[in-house]
Symmetry: C2
Subunit: 301 residues, 2 copies
DNA sequence: TACAAATGTGAGACAAATTCATAATTCTAA
DNA sequence: TTAGAATTATGAATTTGTCTCACATTTGTA
């Protein structure tokens, strides 16, 4: 059966208008065209859709069944078009975020929570799983925004700066390093270093401190959760380097010491990478604005 | 936006097959045709439905929205076709009944109840309102079956005999006519006659007794409900003539007397009129079978 | 970089839907 | 009952749109 939307519209129009001729007007076509169409449809369906004994054409049982379908389906088409309009105007869309920095969960959640309230129609998600190759995923539209601290010049991609942070040393108060004011590469030589389970070029300790100084720590341990890292550090099972915003709560805790890395001041900048086309979408701009201001507020308390 | 079912099928196939070329196979068309179609669809929608940066073509956000629609709508089309097949094979359908004889409610309800259980898919209804012109309504497919006791030879219409019945006189036990064994036309001259509110040619008392004898009763009263007629008769406010099956309960009631009409035995036959095309439909045949046997059983108790 | 795999494009063939003109019904009211 | 109005049906010509074929272009991969 070769059904088309045209046929559903026809059925509905004939029912509404109470006849074929009037329906033709509704649909902006000639009465003849409708007559042909109805005939063709009935031939296809192999069943009479109309009662022809009476003069203003009337729906048969089968026709009524089809009318029901039409009345269920046609509004859905209109809804689709509305959705597309909303998509085009940027009122709605998708914001799937990939994070390269594991610790970003901490400020991202509150930001997303705020965002969700302002843009309930936007489909938000965080994809931690494919943290490895986030930028290609962004290009393929598998995600829509990547949080990264390594801006790359790629055509079609924009890196919007968010905020700066300091990678900070954190250790147990009973650790000998607690005596120092600034921690340098050499200090790690005798330490067990705890990091997130990602490659070295994604870890500030290595890119900013250890790799340039060609220093290798005594041992390495990879742990997924920030809370667990802090627990291990607290019981002096190792030391770690974490962004300052993560250490907000730890600073006022006597079990821990936090120290800047040295010798010079080390500062890093986070970026939100988006596709060029998306960058000007209203909801995207709003998200970036929130991601700029909210984490700073959080850090202040 | 000029959406067609074809497009929904395409979207679904491309998603399933994970690419345009494979989808073309699924749909039995060339890859080229699909490419043209997708381009046309995107032009119409004014929005990208696919991500083209990656090579096996992939759905975009808008495309996913459309996929959802496709997955909701396409099964409904299949369901429609199934329904049409069932309609054609007569498993389902409509059985709207018009009754010319008012008292037929009494046996029709139990029959319909039985029928409904056997053919739950058939849409049943009784139309009492248009009792006047039932046969034309049957021709126009406004109803599908007419209960009548006046068979007429009309092309395209079949009168299936159901069962015979006797119109019976019913009066109060305190009515003088209770003394007679058989009631004849003359006996009505002094009586208030209670009938259903329909024309005389649809009432057995008139067609079979009074009109041939040119007798007019003392008075006439039209009442809609059988129970009310019996109530009035019971309190001797009038007499009536009803089919024997209606008087089943009354016979054993000392307040009433029931008598045959005379002088000869008067017998009438009920028919179920259907359109020729419908007569052989399984559910129709079944209904007629029930309407033949069940009322007889009911009458026996 | 070269080769394979996938998608895009243009022209012509073909099918299907529409229109125009007109015929054939059915309805309605005198 | 019948004329005239209203409604639907039909045939031929035209238009519209979709498909295929052949080839170009792009993207992925070893």
């Amino acid at each position: 059966m070769h059904l088309e939307f045209r046929h559903l519209r026809t059925i509905r129009a004939i029912h509404q208008a109470g006849g074929l001729a009037r329906a033709a007007d509704l649909l902006n076509m000639t009465q003849s065209a409708l007559s042909h169409q109805v005939k063709g449809l009935e031939d296809q369906a192999g069943i009479e859709l109309f009662v022809r004994r009476s003069k203003p054409l009337k729906l048969s049982v089968a026709g009524l069944r089809m009318l029901k379908l039409a009345e269920r389906i046609l509004p859905e088409i209109d809804a689709l078009e509305d959705d597309f309009k909303a998509l085009k105007s940027g009122k709605t869309g998708r914001l799937h975020i990939a994070i390269e920095c594991h610790a970003c969960f901490d400020w991202l959640f509150p930001v997303l929570e705020l965002f969700r309230r302002a843009w309930p129609e936007v489909d938000v998600d965080i994809r931690a799983g494919l943290a490895f190759e986030a930028l290609p995923a962004l290009m393929r539209e598998e995600v829509d925004l990547v949080i990264s601290s390594d801006p790359v010049k790629v055509a079609g991609m924009i890196f919007n700066p968010l905020f700066d942070y300091h990678p900070m040393f954190v250790g147990s108060a009973s650790n000998p390093l607690a005596a120092k004011d600034v921690i340098v590469a050499e200090d790690f030589r005798d330490q067990m270093l705890i990091t997130y389970p990602v490659s070295r070029d994604k870890l500030d300790v290595f890119t900013e401190v250890l790799t340039p100084a060609k220093v290798e720590p005594r041992g390495l341990r990879q742990v997924e959760l920030t809370a667990v890292i802090l627990m291990l550090v607290g019981s002096n099972r190792g030391v770690s380097v974490l962004p300052d915003w993560v250490l907000r709560d730890v600073r006022s805790n006597a079990d821990y010491v936090t120290r800047p890395l040295g010798p010079g001041v080390i500062m890093r900048r986070l970026y939100a990478a988006t596709r060029e086309e998306d960058a000007m979408k209203p909801f995207m701009a709003h998200f970036i604005k929130l991601a700029r201001s909210e984490p700073v507020k959080l850090q202040r308390g």
